[in-house]
């Protein structure tokens, strides 16, 4: 084992930091903050292009598709630094890993370089009104019609659907097969006729969560599909094998810098806040009970960090997760909840003040996190389902 980054990696990190100091200007930050749920503005796209130019997006992707054939750890470093300032350019959650693993040559050629360049963004269409934790219970249908499929149905929580260029969605292609075996994945442009997007506003939309909120989704969407005709070449992987392609994609998606940072950035935030601030001469950092709680949270956060690095190490070795990705996905969100609730009792009444309010601490970031943190234990697989997976895949325990 080796817990150090290499000198080259440390240098890479420094380069990213220098880049950020130079390029993530106040005007970019303001734009990102304003547009957190609204896609990306001009300044952001310019920034993104600059990052891509340096070869910092999709480092671990193959060169032939615009990547660097580089290390997953290098990629983690870049993603971590950028995510910390609110710029999320990671390709986990992008659809990229699954396309790389299961796509046709044509799909790879088309999508991967465009994902890296930021020209393609996928909305993810998994959840349906009647299929949440049990994703495979989805009812959206795709029926073959000549060289095309006709899609009808509805997806929930398609978060970026209002600005994404494409959708990455699951539909049922064999209604008679067992539920996991009749699902296929389709990739197609959002502007395909028959696709409609309706906004779903969340409790973090009023006021919109400020930048630095680690769970701050103010808008998501329902997406409706009415006789949407897509070519058969839109399918990712084999027909009726979509569940397995998607599961693999999700598994890869559960690890990485941004997911880890969602759950631990608030630990750093509160430590640094109480060190540097006080309420009329008294800092909570003077109270031994508070210190004990902060240390407890910090230690848990270290475990989140190390579990993430374990996943990265496994990927780097070319290995597969048995339960490690699921473990990370239990540990980090639950830690995030414990931390936000712990922080709320450290800040007391100040923890209720949202952005814009007199007295708001860190412009309401802690208050927004308190509203949103439980969400990270639901999205991309609930902690209950993740624990099932640890027990069944990791420990070989039988189904009930």
């Amino acid at each position: 084992m080796d817990f150090a980054f290499t000198p080259e990696q440390e240098q890479l990190r420094q380069e990213v930091r220098d880049f950020i100091a130079e390029n993530v200007t106040d005007s970019v930050r303001a734009e990102v903050e304003d547009a957190m749920d609204e896609g990306h503005g001009e300044e952001y796209m310019k920034l993104r292009a600059k990052i891509a130019e340096r070869g910092w997006i999709g480092i671990s992707f193959p060169k032939e598709y615009g990547g660097q054939d580089g290390s997953r750890i290098d990629q983690y470093i870049v993603e971590e630094e950028l995510a910390r300032v609110g710029v999320n350019v990671g390709l986990s959650g992008s659809g990229g890993p699954a396309i790389l693993a299961a796509g046709t040559e044509e799909q790879k050629q088309y999508f991967i370089p465009r994902l890296i360049r930021g020209e393609v963004t996928f909305a993810l269409g998994f959840t349906e009104p009647q299929a949440g934790a049990d994703l495979a219970g989805l009812q959206t249908r795709a029926v073959r019609d000549g060289d095309d499929y006709i899609i009808n149905g509805q997806k929930m929580y398609t978060s970026s659907a209002h600005y994404a260029t494409h959708i990455y969605m699951m539909a049922r292609t064999d209604p008679d097969a067992p539920k996991h075996k009749g699902i296929s994945i389709f990739l197609f442009p959002m502007d395909t006729p028959g696709v409609t997007v309706r906004p779903l506003w969340t409790i973090q939309n009023d006021p919109p969560a400020p930048m630095g909120t680690t769970y701050g989704m103010g808008r998501t969407n329902e997406t409706f599909f009415e006789d949407v005709r897509v070519p058969a070449s839109s399918m990712l992987g084999e027909e009726n094998m979509g569940w397995y392609v998607g599961a693999m994609g999700l598994n890869l998606d559960r690890v990485g810098a941004s997911r880890y940072l969602i759950s631990v950035r608030r630990d750093e935030d509160i430590v640094n806040w109480v060190k540097e601030n006080e309420f009329d001469g008294h800092s909570p950092s003077e109270d031994p009970e508070v210190r004990d709680r902060i240390a407890e949270m910090w230690i848990e956060a270290q475990v989140c960090r190390l579990m993430t690095l374990r996943s990265m190490s496994i990927v780097e070795h070319g290995g597969n997760f048995t339960y490690e990705g699921s473990a990370e996905k239990v540990w980090a969100p639950e830690h995030g909840v414990r931390t936000t609730e712990g922080i709320s009792q450290i800040l007391g009444p100040y923890a209720q003040l949202l952005n814009g309010s007199i007295g708001a601490v860190e412009d309401g970031v802690f208050a927004h996190n308190l509203m949103g943190s439980f969400q990270s234990g639901i999205n991309h697989g609930s902690v209950q389902v993740m624990r099932d997976q640890v027990a069944r895949r990791g420990l070989g325990m039988p189904r009930g």
Partner: protein, 393 residues
């Protein structure tokens, strides 16, 4: 020893529930989040007419002369239905005026409170949010036959809607801790007062209130100059106990919504409620609420008996802070994404209960208070025997 509600108590609670079920929908709570005043005067008036506002105030002022416990049962239902009325702030102030005010002060306020014509509030916190005397820096300077107040209060509930406000001040310049604390009944419209609304999680109406050379007559003082700390502490204790009733009332409803949802929602081809992991979460939710409720009832009951109850209040609040939060969070988790959506009602409870866990003392503060009673007085401690008796031996 009977920790169950009497038939009469049960009846009161049920009648409150029926009324509020009919009169206060989640839509009303939503509407009031956007409303400038923050409460519907008509509903407030109705609640006064039903005798709820005057429940624990004397009959001679138009109240019902009933116990704090009765008021607590009503407020549990107010919490359950997240009723957007200034009952908590009004009661916290009115009960203090009744307990420690002069006849004149009572006459001036309590009849109007009972009839629903006067909303009250109280102001303790300043920049240092801890509920201890040291945090009070606001100055009351003697000036002729009155006092001049200067300072800034934070987190003042319903100040925008209140006619009068109990203001905790330090009247002896340079005094420390619990010495030198005075309490004043101040007209909110007095010259020199300005306030600004805070934006809170619960979207309730809390203000920062600035007092700039605000003149109050000597007759506005409650208790004796410089010696009001015990009055203030009793006020905070009553306010805290009543807040706990709202917390457990709201948390229980929230738990019930999760249980109902889990019974009706299918996953993996069966009701979500049939999964053992979900069953165990729900079992915990109910036990947590039960625990908070029992602790709260004991605190209220002791107050009604005229027994010391600070420790019991702190026990209840420390427990409710953690467990009611755990209840509403668990409910959100069981609901999944939908509970996070603005258009779904669940978050109305989540946001309020969460906000209430942040007010009137943190878990750490209340536990420290319990620890003082347990560890800093002589004598053996025994569960179920009063810690105060021990102290006095």
């Amino acid at each position: 020893m009977d920790v169950l509600l009497t038939d009469e108590e049960e009846m009161l609670k049920n009648s409150a529930r029926e009324f509020l079920e009919a009169e206060c929908s989640p839509e009303l709570a939503r509407e009031m989040e956007r409303d400038d005043l923050g409460y519907p005067p008509q509903l407030w008036k109705q609640m006064a007419t039903l005798g709820w506002v005057g429940m624990a105030l004397p009959e001679r002022y138009g109240g019902q002369g009933l116990s704090l416990t009765y008021l607590g049962l009503v407020m549990e239902e107010v919490g359950r239905h997240i009723v957007p009325v200034p009952l908590h702030s009004t009661m916290t102030a009115a009960l203090t005026i009744n307990a420690d005010g002069t006849d004149e002060q009572r006459q001036e306020t309590l009849p109007k409170v009972c009839s629903g014509d006067m909303v009250l509030t109280w102001a303790f916190s300043e920049a240092d949010p801890r509920y201890r005397a040291e945090s009070v820096k606001m100055e009351a300077r003697r000036d002729g036959d009155g006092y001049i107040l200067n300072g800034t209060k934070m987190f003042v509930d319903n100040f925008n809607a209140s006619e009068k406000c109990l203001v905790v001040c330090r009247s002896t310049h340079g005094s420390q801790g619990t010495d030198g604390i005075s309490l004043f009944l101040v007209d909110t419209s007095s010259p020199g007062i300005s306030h600004e609304l805070l934006t809170t999680l619960a979207k309730d109406k809390q203000s920062q209130v600035v007092f700039e050379n605000v003149r109050v007559p000597s007759s506005a003082m409650i208790g004796e100059e410089g010696s009001a700390w015990p009055i203030v502490e009793a006020m905070l204790d009553r306010g805290t106990a009543l807040l706990c009733t709202q917390m457990t009332g709201a948390a229980r409803k929230d738990a019930e919504m999760a249980i109902d949802y889990s019974k009706n929602r299918l996953a993996f081809g069966r009701p979500v409620a049939s999964f053992q992991s979900i069953q165990h979460i729900c079992a915990d939710m109910i036990m947590w609420v039960d625990g908070g409720q029992l602790l709260t009832y004991e605190a209220l009951w002791r107050m009604d008996q005229g027994l010391p109850a600070s420790v019991e209040v702190s026990q209840a609040k420390a427990f409710c802070n953690e467990k009611c939060e755990a209840v509403v969070r668990s409910s959100q988790i069981i609901h999944g994404g939908i509970g996070f959506m603005m258009e779904f009602n669940l978050h109305l409870w989540f946001r309020r209960v969460t906000a209430w866990t942040l007010r009137l003392g943190t878990t750490f503060e209340h536990r420290a208070r319990v620890a003082r009673a347990l560890l800093d007085q002589p004598g053996k401690m025994r569960l179920g025997r009063s810690m105060y008796q021990t102290a006095s031996r």
